[in-house]
């Protein structure tokens, strides 16, 4: 059994230029690497931020991540995904995804192979959303401790 403790990332949501006051949220952002599924040793490994989003049914990344993986994004299966603010056109591609711990390179890391969704309409979103489709397949216990500000993964 492996337990890993990871930090939150503090992200400003409002900056007062005159007073220099920022309002922040703390986000459960992980570093993940993506690869074209089955080609981990041949294809590119693309690191990106992924927010743990247990409210999202599906995992979605900006389209430029698919491009970095060597996919022609529109060759994937199209699917319109809805959120509270509207919907975006996404394309499904088969990927491998691994949660990374840069400071612990020798640790065994949770990983996933299967479909993820990519949208060029999300290209300016700084992170992807790690949804329940992938989280539930990773067979790990996930704790988000907002009191002590850490994410705990046990698997």
């Amino acid at each position: 059994m492996t337990t890993v403790i990871l930090p939150f990332r503090k992200w400003p949501i409002q900056i007062d230029e005159a007073k220099g006051i920022s309002y922040y949220v703390v986000k459960p952002l992980l570093i993940v690497t993506l690869n074209p599924e089955g080609k981990e040793h041949l294809g590119p490994l693309v690191p990106f931020y992924a927010e743990i989003d247990t409210g999202a049914d599906l995992t979605v990344f900006p389209g430029h991540v698919a491009e970095s993986l060597g996919f022609n994004i529109t060759e994937g299966t199209p699917k319109r995904i809805s959120g509270i603010g509207g919907s975006v056109l996404c394309y499904a591609h088969r990927i491998g995804l691994t949660i990374e711990y840069p400071e612990k390179p020798d640790f065994f890391r949770p990983s996933f192979s299967g479909l993820a969704y990519f949208s060029n309409e999300l290209n300016k979103l700084p992170w992807g959303l790690l949804g329940e489709d992938i989280l539930s397949q990773m067979k790990m216990k996930l704790s988000i401790d907002y009191k002590n500000l850490f994410i705990e993964l046990t698997y």
Partner: protein
């Protein structure tokens, strides 16, 4: 008793690179921008020139947005 963990502060990155594409080296303890530019391809090319391996290349929004996704 559990020790409180200090979050990695992304504030400086966001304040200094709004509207830009950035390459971030994130060690899991801190994060810093190593290349900044107007396009993703420009940033990718510069990273390659500098020999920076596998940075996180992302876009910093020009307007701070509150997300409810």
């Amino acid at each position: 008793m559990t020790t409180k963990m200090k979050p990695i502060d992304m504030g400086k990155i966001v304040k200094e690179h709004r509207g830009k594409w950035v390459a971030i080296v994130d060690t899991g303890q801190s994060a810093k921008v190593v290349v900044s530019g107007n396009t993703r391809k420009q940033v990718q090319r510069k990273c390659k020139e500098l020999g920076i391996e596998r940075p996180i290349i992302t876009h910093i929004p020009s307007q701070l947005v509150v997300y409810v996704l």
